[in-house]
Protein backbone atom coordinates (compact mmCIF):
# COMPACT_ATOMS: atom_id res chain seq x y z
CA UNK A 1 0.00 0.00 0.00
CA UNK A 2 2.65 2.45 1.15
CA UNK A 3 4.85 1.39 -1.74
CA UNK A 4 2.12 2.09 -4.29
CA UNK A 5 1.50 5.52 -2.81
CA UNK A 6 5.21 6.38 -2.86
CA UNK A 7 5.46 5.26 -6.48
CA UNK A 8 2.47 7.42 -7.38
CA UNK A 9 3.88 10.40 -5.48
CA UNK A 10 7.42 10.22 -6.87
CA UNK A 11 6.38 9.42 -10.40
CA UNK A 12 3.98 12.36 -10.52
CA UNK A 13 6.67 14.69 -9.13
CA UNK A 14 9.54 13.56 -11.35
CA UNK A 15 8.64 11.21 -14.19
CA UNK A 16 5.23 12.47 -15.19
CA UNK A 17 5.86 16.08 -14.22
CA UNK A 18 2.80 17.84 -15.60
CA UNK A 19 4.63 20.90 -16.85
CA UNK A 20 7.80 19.32 -18.14
CA UNK A 21 6.64 15.93 -19.43
CA UNK A 22 2.95 16.29 -20.12
CA UNK A 23 3.03 19.98 -21.08
CA UNK A 24 0.01 21.00 -19.03
CA UNK A 25 -0.06 24.29 -17.15
CA UNK A 26 2.50 25.92 -19.42
CA UNK A 27 0.78 29.30 -19.11
CA UNK A 28 1.54 29.98 -15.42
CA UNK A 29 4.87 28.18 -15.91
CA UNK A 30 6.01 30.80 -18.43
CA UNK A 31 4.00 33.69 -17.07
CA UNK A 32 4.72 33.73 -13.34
CA UNK A 33 8.23 32.27 -13.24
CA UNK A 34 10.17 35.53 -13.50
CA UNK A 35 10.78 35.86 -9.77
CA UNK A 36 11.37 33.19 -7.18
CA UNK A 37 8.84 34.44 -4.62
CA UNK A 38 6.06 34.70 -7.21
CA UNK A 39 6.92 31.27 -8.58
CA UNK A 40 6.80 29.75 -5.10
CA UNK A 41 3.47 31.44 -4.32
CA UNK A 42 1.98 30.22 -7.55
CA UNK A 43 3.29 26.69 -6.98
CA UNK A 44 1.79 26.50 -3.49
CA UNK A 45 -1.54 27.92 -4.70
CA UNK A 46 -1.67 25.37 -7.53
CA UNK A 47 -0.88 22.51 -5.12
CA UNK A 48 -3.64 23.61 -2.74
CA UNK A 49 -6.19 23.97 -5.53
CA UNK A 50 -5.24 20.59 -7.03
CA UNK A 51 -5.73 18.85 -3.68
CA UNK A 52 -9.06 20.53 -3.12
CA UNK A 53 -10.24 19.87 -6.67
CA UNK A 54 -9.37 16.19 -6.47
CA UNK A 55 -11.01 15.81 -3.08
CA UNK A 56 -14.25 17.15 -4.55
CA UNK A 57 -14.27 15.83 -8.10
CA UNK A 58 -13.43 12.22 -7.21
CA UNK A 59 -16.67 11.67 -5.20
CA UNK A 60 -18.65 13.57 -7.82
CA UNK A 61 -17.39 11.23 -10.54
CA UNK A 62 -17.96 7.97 -8.68
CA UNK A 63 -21.07 8.77 -6.65
CA UNK A 64 -22.92 11.09 -9.00
CA UNK A 65 -21.87 10.90 -12.65
CA UNK A 66 -21.12 7.18 -12.86
CA UNK A 67 -24.25 6.09 -10.99
CA UNK A 68 -26.56 7.86 -13.44
CA UNK A 69 -24.45 7.08 -16.49
CA UNK A 70 -23.29 10.66 -17.11
CA UNK A 71 -19.57 9.89 -17.36
CA UNK A 72 -19.36 11.80 -20.63
CA UNK A 73 -20.27 15.06 -18.84
CA UNK A 74 -17.07 14.77 -16.78
CA UNK A 75 -15.16 17.68 -18.33
CA UNK A 76 -17.88 20.28 -18.14
CA UNK A 77 -18.99 19.30 -14.62
CA UNK A 78 -15.40 19.35 -13.36
CA UNK A 79 -14.76 22.79 -14.85
CA UNK A 80 -17.93 24.08 -13.21
CA UNK A 81 -17.12 22.59 -9.82
CA UNK A 82 -13.45 23.54 -9.71
CA UNK A 83 -14.07 27.11 -10.85
CA UNK A 84 -16.70 27.73 -8.19
CA UNK A 85 -14.60 26.00 -5.53
CA UNK A 86 -11.63 28.25 -6.19
CA UNK A 87 -13.89 31.28 -6.00
CA UNK A 88 -15.28 30.07 -2.66
CA UNK A 89 -11.79 29.37 -1.37
CA UNK A 90 -10.75 32.88 -2.26
CA UNK A 91 -13.73 34.46 -0.51
CA UNK A 92 -13.21 32.36 2.61
CA UNK A 93 -9.47 33.04 2.69
CA UNK A 94 -10.13 36.77 2.40
CA UNK A 95 -12.48 36.58 5.35
CA UNK A 96 -10.67 34.21 7.69
CA UNK A 97 -7.01 34.48 6.80
CA UNK A 98 -6.09 37.85 5.29
CA UNK A 99 -2.38 37.05 5.52
CA UNK A 100 -2.76 33.87 3.49
CA UNK A 101 -5.04 35.71 1.11
CA UNK A 102 -2.39 38.33 0.54
CA UNK A 103 0.13 35.62 -0.33
CA UNK A 104 -2.03 33.32 -2.46
CA UNK A 105 -5.01 35.50 -3.33
CA UNK A 106 -3.57 37.01 -6.47
CA UNK A 107 -2.81 33.60 -7.93
CA UNK A 108 -6.14 31.96 -7.17
CA UNK A 109 -8.24 33.71 -9.84
CA UNK A 110 -5.47 32.96 -12.34
CA UNK A 111 -5.79 29.21 -11.87
CA UNK A 112 -9.53 28.71 -11.74
CA UNK A 113 -9.57 25.60 -13.93
CA UNK A 114 -6.09 25.92 -15.19
CA UNK A 115 -5.53 23.00 -17.56
CA UNK A 116 -3.11 21.35 -15.13
CA UNK A 117 -5.73 21.43 -12.35
CA UNK A 118 -8.43 20.01 -14.61
CA UNK A 119 -5.87 17.54 -15.99
CA UNK A 120 -5.11 16.14 -12.52
CA UNK A 121 -8.80 15.70 -11.71
CA UNK A 122 -9.51 13.92 -14.97
CA UNK A 123 -6.30 11.83 -15.05
CA UNK A 124 -6.96 10.54 -11.54
CA UNK A 125 -10.23 9.13 -12.81
CA UNK A 126 -8.74 7.78 -16.08
CA UNK A 127 -5.91 6.05 -14.19
CA UNK A 128 -8.49 4.33 -11.98
CA UNK A 129 -7.00 5.54 -8.69
CA UNK A 130 -8.97 5.12 -5.47
CA UNK A 131 -9.62 8.18 -3.31
CA UNK A 132 -6.39 8.04 -1.28
CA UNK A 133 -4.29 7.38 -4.36
CA UNK A 134 -5.97 10.31 -6.13
CA UNK A 135 -5.13 12.67 -3.27
CA UNK A 136 -1.50 11.47 -3.18
CA UNK A 137 -1.25 11.78 -6.95
CA UNK A 138 -2.57 15.35 -6.98
CA UNK A 139 -0.22 16.25 -4.13
CA UNK A 140 2.63 14.86 -6.21
CA UNK A 141 1.56 16.74 -9.31
CA UNK A 142 1.29 19.97 -7.30
CA UNK A 143 4.73 19.46 -5.79
CA UNK A 144 6.08 18.67 -9.25
CA UNK A 145 4.61 21.93 -10.52
CA UNK A 146 6.17 23.80 -7.59
CA UNK A 147 9.53 22.15 -8.31
CA UNK A 148 9.35 23.07 -11.99
CA UNK A 149 8.39 26.68 -11.17
CA UNK A 150 11.20 27.11 -8.64
CA UNK A 151 13.82 25.53 -10.89
CA UNK A 152 12.72 27.59 -13.85
CA UNK A 153 12.58 30.89 -11.99
CA UNK A 154 16.15 30.30 -10.84
CA UNK A 155 17.20 29.60 -14.39
CA UNK A 156 15.40 32.66 -15.71
CA UNK A 157 17.03 35.01 -13.23
CA UNK A 158 20.40 33.63 -14.35
CA UNK A 159 19.46 34.21 -17.99
CA UNK A 160 18.38 37.78 -17.22
CA UNK A 161 21.81 38.59 -15.84
CA UNK A 162 23.78 37.38 -18.83
CA UNK A 163 24.49 39.02 -22.12
CA UNK A 164 22.65 36.94 -24.68
CA UNK A 165 22.45 37.65 -28.43
CA UNK A 166 19.66 39.99 -29.39
CA UNK A 167 17.49 37.53 -31.39
CA UNK A 168 17.34 35.23 -28.34
CA UNK A 169 16.38 37.89 -25.80
CA UNK A 170 13.10 37.54 -23.92
CA UNK A 171 10.64 34.81 -24.84
CA UNK A 172 12.98 32.96 -27.24
CA UNK A 173 15.59 32.18 -24.59
CA UNK A 174 12.82 31.39 -22.09
CA UNK A 175 11.28 28.79 -24.38
CA UNK A 176 14.66 27.24 -25.18
CA UNK A 177 15.48 27.04 -21.47
CA UNK A 178 12.09 25.43 -20.81
CA UNK A 179 12.77 22.79 -23.43
CA UNK A 180 16.16 21.99 -21.87
CA UNK A 181 14.62 21.54 -18.41
CA UNK A 182 11.98 19.37 -20.00
CA UNK A 183 14.66 17.24 -21.67
CA UNK A 184 16.42 16.87 -18.34
CA UNK A 185 13.22 15.63 -16.71
CA UNK A 186 12.82 13.04 -19.48
CA UNK A 187 15.88 11.42 -17.92
CA UNK A 188 13.82 10.40 -14.89
CA UNK A 189 11.81 7.91 -16.96
CA UNK A 190 12.02 4.46 -15.43
CA UNK A 191 13.87 5.60 -12.32
CA UNK A 192 10.96 5.25 -9.91
CA UNK A 193 10.07 1.67 -10.80
CA UNK A 194 13.71 0.66 -10.27
CA UNK A 195 13.80 2.50 -6.92
CA UNK A 196 11.04 0.32 -5.51
CA UNK A 197 11.57 -2.60 -7.82
Amino acid sequence: MFKTLMIILLSSVLVNNYVLSRFLGICPFLGVSKKLDQATGMGIAVTAVMLLATAVTWPIQYFLLDTIGLGYMQTIVFILVIASLVQMLELLLKRFSPALHKGLGVYLPLITTNCAVLGVAINNITDGYNFLESIVSSLGVGLGFLLAMVLFSGLRSRIDETNIPKPFKGLASTLIAASFISLAFMGFAGIVDKLFG
Binding site: L64, L65, I68, L70, M73, I76, V77, L80, V81, S84, Q87, M88, L91, L92, K94, R95, F96, P98, E161, N163
Partner: protein, 283 residues
Protein backbone atom coordinates in the same frame (compact mmCIF):
# COMPACT_ATOMS: atom_id res chain seq x y z
CA UNK B 1 -32.83 10.07 -26.31
CA UNK B 2 -34.71 13.15 -25.21
CA UNK B 3 -34.76 11.79 -21.67
CA UNK B 4 -30.94 11.43 -21.66
CA UNK B 5 -30.49 15.02 -22.73
CA UNK B 6 -32.88 16.21 -20.06
CA UNK B 7 -31.11 14.18 -17.34
CA UNK B 8 -27.70 15.59 -18.35
CA UNK B 9 -29.13 19.08 -18.54
CA UNK B 10 -30.88 18.72 -15.21
CA UNK B 11 -27.82 17.38 -13.38
CA UNK B 12 -25.46 20.08 -14.64
CA UNK B 13 -28.04 22.79 -14.04
CA UNK B 14 -28.62 21.41 -10.55
CA UNK B 15 -24.89 21.40 -9.72
CA UNK B 16 -24.55 24.91 -11.12
CA UNK B 17 -27.51 26.10 -9.06
CA UNK B 18 -26.18 24.60 -5.83
CA UNK B 19 -22.73 26.08 -6.41
CA UNK B 20 -24.22 29.41 -7.40
CA UNK B 21 -26.31 29.58 -4.24
CA UNK B 22 -23.29 28.59 -2.12
CA UNK B 23 -21.17 31.29 -3.75
CA UNK B 24 -23.89 33.88 -3.24
CA UNK B 25 -24.33 32.89 0.42
CA UNK B 26 -20.59 32.95 1.08
CA UNK B 27 -20.01 36.26 -0.63
CA UNK B 28 -22.99 37.72 1.26
CA UNK B 29 -22.18 36.48 4.75
CA UNK B 30 -18.43 36.27 4.69
CA UNK B 31 -17.87 39.48 2.78
CA UNK B 32 -15.03 41.63 4.05
CA UNK B 33 -16.22 45.13 4.70
CA UNK B 34 -14.07 47.44 2.64
CA UNK B 35 -13.81 50.94 3.93
CA UNK B 36 -15.64 53.34 1.60
CA UNK B 37 -13.28 56.10 2.61
CA UNK B 38 -10.28 53.96 1.74
CA UNK B 39 -11.69 53.36 -1.74
CA UNK B 40 -12.29 57.08 -2.24
CA UNK B 41 -8.79 57.89 -1.02
CA UNK B 42 -7.25 55.26 -3.28
CA UNK B 43 -9.13 56.70 -6.27
CA UNK B 44 -7.36 60.05 -5.78
CA UNK B 45 -3.93 58.48 -6.19
CA UNK B 46 -2.31 57.86 -9.56
CA UNK B 47 -1.54 54.16 -9.03
CA UNK B 48 2.02 54.09 -10.38
CA UNK B 49 3.29 52.57 -7.10
CA UNK B 50 6.46 54.66 -7.34
CA UNK B 51 7.08 54.75 -3.61
CA UNK B 52 7.95 58.46 -3.47
CA UNK B 53 5.56 58.91 -0.53
CA UNK B 54 7.65 56.46 1.48
CA UNK B 55 5.02 53.71 1.54
CA UNK B 56 5.00 50.36 -0.27
CA UNK B 57 2.64 51.51 -2.99
CA UNK B 58 -0.49 53.49 -3.64
CA UNK B 59 -2.66 50.99 -1.70
CA UNK B 60 -0.41 51.14 1.32
CA UNK B 61 -0.30 54.93 1.24
CA UNK B 62 -4.08 55.14 0.84
CA UNK B 63 -4.49 52.97 3.94
CA UNK B 64 -2.06 55.17 5.86
CA UNK B 65 -3.85 58.36 4.82
CA UNK B 66 -7.24 56.91 5.72
CA UNK B 67 -6.02 55.93 9.17
CA UNK B 68 -4.41 59.32 9.62
CA UNK B 69 -0.88 57.90 9.81
CA UNK B 70 0.33 59.93 6.83
CA UNK B 71 -0.05 63.43 5.49
CA UNK B 72 -2.18 63.68 2.36
CA UNK B 73 0.33 65.77 0.41
CA UNK B 74 3.08 63.18 0.05
CA UNK B 75 2.14 61.92 -3.39
CA UNK B 76 4.67 63.38 -5.78
CA UNK B 77 3.32 62.18 -9.16
CA UNK B 78 -0.25 63.19 -8.32
CA UNK B 79 1.07 66.53 -7.02
CA UNK B 80 -1.48 69.29 -6.50
CA UNK B 81 -4.38 67.43 -8.08
CA UNK B 82 -4.08 64.40 -5.81
CA UNK B 83 -3.49 66.53 -2.73
CA UNK B 84 -6.50 68.72 -3.46
CA UNK B 85 -8.78 65.75 -4.12
CA UNK B 86 -7.53 64.00 -1.00
CA UNK B 87 -8.24 67.14 0.96
CA UNK B 88 -11.77 67.16 -0.42
CA UNK B 89 -12.32 63.49 0.44
CA UNK B 90 -10.96 63.84 3.95
CA UNK B 91 -12.52 67.25 4.46
CA UNK B 92 -9.31 69.01 5.46
CA UNK B 93 -7.09 71.76 4.10
CA UNK B 94 -4.00 70.41 2.39
CA UNK B 95 -0.75 72.16 1.62
CA UNK B 96 0.11 71.30 -1.94
CA UNK B 97 3.52 69.77 -2.49
CA UNK B 98 6.18 71.58 -4.44
CA UNK B 99 6.55 70.48 -8.06
CA UNK B 100 9.96 68.98 -8.58
CA UNK B 101 11.74 67.33 -11.46
CA UNK B 102 14.83 65.17 -11.60
CA UNK B 103 18.01 66.67 -12.93
CA UNK B 104 21.24 64.91 -13.87
CA UNK B 105 24.24 66.92 -12.70
CA UNK B 106 26.67 65.70 -15.32
CA UNK B 107 27.52 66.79 -18.82
CA UNK B 108 30.40 64.41 -19.43
CA UNK B 109 29.22 63.17 -22.81
CA UNK B 110 31.33 61.10 -25.19
CA UNK B 111 33.07 64.17 -26.60
CA UNK B 112 33.98 65.73 -23.30
CA UNK B 113 35.28 62.81 -21.32
CA UNK B 114 37.08 59.54 -21.91
CA UNK B 115 37.01 56.08 -20.42
CA UNK B 116 39.72 54.64 -18.30
CA UNK B 117 38.58 51.07 -18.94
CA UNK B 118 36.35 49.02 -21.19
CA UNK B 119 33.53 47.60 -19.09
CA UNK B 120 31.83 44.47 -20.42
CA UNK B 121 30.15 43.18 -17.29
CA UNK B 122 26.54 43.28 -16.17
CA UNK B 123 24.82 46.25 -17.79
CA UNK B 124 24.06 48.12 -14.58
CA UNK B 125 25.55 51.32 -13.16
CA UNK B 126 25.52 49.85 -9.68
CA UNK B 127 27.66 46.87 -10.72
CA UNK B 128 29.98 49.02 -12.84
CA UNK B 129 30.46 51.53 -10.02
CA UNK B 130 31.77 48.78 -7.74
CA UNK B 131 34.81 48.23 -9.96
CA UNK B 132 37.20 51.14 -9.35
CA UNK B 133 34.31 53.60 -9.36
CA UNK B 134 33.19 52.76 -12.86
CA UNK B 135 34.74 52.77 -16.31
CA UNK B 136 34.61 56.54 -16.86
CA UNK B 137 37.65 58.74 -16.50
CA UNK B 138 35.69 61.02 -14.16
CA UNK B 139 34.92 59.25 -10.91
CA UNK B 140 31.95 61.54 -10.23
CA UNK B 141 30.22 61.39 -13.60
CA UNK B 142 27.32 59.53 -15.10
CA UNK B 143 28.21 55.93 -15.94
CA UNK B 144 25.47 55.85 -18.53
CA UNK B 145 24.28 52.26 -18.17
CA UNK B 146 20.78 53.40 -17.35
CA UNK B 147 19.86 52.21 -13.85
CA UNK B 148 17.84 55.41 -13.55
CA UNK B 149 16.10 54.83 -16.88
CA UNK B 150 15.16 51.31 -15.80
CA UNK B 151 13.83 52.58 -12.46
CA UNK B 152 11.80 55.44 -13.95
CA UNK B 153 8.07 54.57 -13.83
CA UNK B 154 7.25 57.17 -16.47
CA UNK B 155 9.95 56.35 -19.03
CA UNK B 156 11.21 59.91 -18.72
CA UNK B 157 14.93 59.15 -18.75
CA UNK B 158 16.85 58.41 -21.91
CA UNK B 159 20.54 57.79 -22.47
CA UNK B 160 22.26 60.00 -24.99
CA UNK B 161 25.99 60.25 -25.72
CA UNK B 162 26.75 58.12 -22.67
CA UNK B 163 24.86 60.16 -20.08
CA UNK B 164 21.32 60.15 -18.76
CA UNK B 165 18.88 62.86 -19.77
CA UNK B 166 15.60 63.57 -18.04
CA UNK B 167 12.61 64.52 -20.15
CA UNK B 168 11.20 67.04 -17.73
CA UNK B 169 7.84 66.99 -19.46
CA UNK B 170 7.37 63.32 -18.56
CA UNK B 171 9.16 63.41 -15.18
CA UNK B 172 6.79 62.80 -12.27
CA UNK B 173 9.26 63.92 -9.64
CA UNK B 174 9.05 60.66 -7.71
CA UNK B 175 12.79 60.61 -6.99
CA UNK B 176 13.36 56.91 -7.69
CA UNK B 177 16.26 57.76 -10.00
CA UNK B 178 17.82 59.92 -7.30
CA UNK B 179 17.80 56.96 -4.91
CA UNK B 180 19.08 54.41 -7.38
CA UNK B 181 21.96 56.39 -8.96
CA UNK B 182 25.17 54.94 -7.49
CA UNK B 183 27.01 58.19 -8.20
CA UNK B 184 24.35 60.37 -6.55
CA UNK B 185 24.43 62.86 -9.40
CA UNK B 186 20.65 63.13 -9.82
CA UNK B 187 18.86 65.61 -7.62
CA UNK B 188 15.31 66.84 -7.41
CA UNK B 189 15.09 70.50 -8.35
CA UNK B 190 12.05 72.76 -8.20
CA UNK B 191 10.23 73.13 -11.48
CA UNK B 192 10.92 76.88 -11.46
CA UNK B 193 14.66 76.21 -11.62
CA UNK B 194 16.43 78.56 -14.00
CA UNK B 195 20.18 78.04 -13.69
CA UNK B 196 21.82 74.69 -13.03
CA UNK B 197 25.29 73.23 -12.59
CA UNK B 198 25.83 70.31 -14.90
CA UNK B 199 28.72 68.75 -13.05
CA UNK B 200 29.34 66.87 -9.82
CA UNK B 201 33.14 66.80 -9.83
CA UNK B 202 34.64 68.07 -6.57
CA UNK B 203 38.24 67.54 -7.60
CA UNK B 204 40.54 70.54 -7.98
CA UNK B 205 40.19 72.47 -11.24
CA UNK B 206 43.17 71.01 -13.06
CA UNK B 207 42.29 67.41 -12.12
CA UNK B 208 38.65 67.90 -13.03
CA UNK B 209 39.58 69.44 -16.38
CA UNK B 210 41.96 66.59 -17.13
CA UNK B 211 39.15 64.00 -17.05
CA UNK B 212 36.34 66.04 -18.61
CA UNK B 213 36.21 69.09 -20.82
CA UNK B 214 32.83 70.14 -19.41
CA UNK B 215 33.75 69.83 -15.75
CA UNK B 216 33.32 72.57 -13.16
CA UNK B 217 36.81 73.76 -12.29
CA UNK B 218 35.72 75.80 -9.28
CA UNK B 219 37.00 79.11 -10.70
CA UNK B 220 34.34 81.10 -8.80
CA UNK B 221 33.54 83.33 -11.78
CA UNK B 222 29.86 82.48 -11.43
CA UNK B 223 29.95 83.24 -7.71
CA UNK B 224 31.38 86.68 -8.39
CA UNK B 225 29.05 87.53 -11.24
CA UNK B 226 25.79 86.48 -9.56
CA UNK B 227 23.91 89.60 -8.41
CA UNK B 228 21.81 87.72 -5.86
CA UNK B 229 24.41 85.57 -4.19
CA UNK B 230 22.64 82.46 -5.37
CA UNK B 231 25.77 80.68 -6.58
CA UNK B 232 28.42 79.45 -4.19
CA UNK B 233 31.50 77.37 -4.84
CA UNK B 234 32.16 74.75 -2.22
CA UNK B 235 34.65 71.94 -2.55
CA UNK B 236 35.64 73.10 -6.06
CA UNK B 237 32.08 72.74 -7.29
CA UNK B 238 29.52 75.46 -7.98
CA UNK B 239 26.10 75.11 -6.39
CA UNK B 240 22.94 77.09 -7.10
CA UNK B 241 20.55 78.10 -4.32
CA UNK B 242 17.28 77.80 -6.22
CA UNK B 243 15.40 80.00 -3.76
CA UNK B 244 17.67 82.96 -4.55
CA UNK B 245 18.23 82.37 -8.28
CA UNK B 246 16.20 84.66 -10.55
CA UNK B 247 17.38 83.16 -13.81
CA UNK B 248 19.37 86.10 -15.18
CA UNK B 249 21.78 83.69 -16.85
CA UNK B 250 24.92 85.77 -16.04
CA UNK B 251 26.60 82.75 -14.45
CA UNK B 252 26.01 80.66 -17.56
CA UNK B 253 27.57 83.37 -19.72
CA UNK B 254 30.60 83.72 -17.49
CA UNK B 255 31.32 79.99 -17.12
CA UNK B 256 34.53 79.08 -18.99
CA UNK B 257 33.71 75.36 -19.33
CA UNK B 258 30.00 75.66 -19.96
CA UNK B 259 28.98 73.59 -16.98
CA UNK B 260 26.55 76.31 -15.83
CA UNK B 261 23.43 76.20 -17.92
CA UNK B 262 20.29 78.23 -18.19
CA UNK B 263 17.28 75.94 -18.40
CA UNK B 264 13.56 76.33 -18.66
CA UNK B 265 11.57 73.35 -17.49
CA UNK B 266 8.22 72.94 -19.15
CA UNK B 267 5.51 73.31 -16.56
CA UNK B 268 2.49 71.05 -16.66
CA UNK B 269 -0.22 73.28 -18.13
CA UNK B 270 -3.01 74.50 -15.89
CA UNK B 271 -6.03 72.27 -15.68
CA UNK B 272 -4.25 69.14 -16.92
CA UNK B 273 -4.48 66.19 -14.57
CA UNK B 274 -0.94 64.87 -14.00
CA UNK B 275 -2.36 61.37 -13.67
CA UNK B 276 -3.44 61.48 -17.32
CA UNK B 277 0.12 62.25 -18.34
CA UNK B 278 1.34 59.28 -16.32
CA UNK B 279 -1.14 57.02 -18.05
CA UNK B 280 0.05 58.19 -21.47
CA UNK B 281 3.66 57.80 -20.49
CA UNK B 282 3.31 54.26 -19.19
CA UNK B 283 1.69 52.97 -22.38
Amino acid sequence: MFKDIMIAFGVVAGIALILGVMLAVISRFFAVKEDEKLKAVRACLPGVNCGACGFKGCDDYAAAVTEGRAKPNLCVPGAETSARELGAVLGIEVETPEDVVAFVHCNGNCEATTRKADYTGVASCKAAAMIYGGPDACRFGCIGLGDCAAACPAGAICLKDGIAHVDTEKCLGCGLCQTICPKHIISMVPQETKDVVMCSNTDKGADARKVCKNACIGCKKCEKVCPNGAVTVENNLARVDHSKCVGCGLCAESCPTGCMKKVIFPDIPEGVDPREIIKDASV
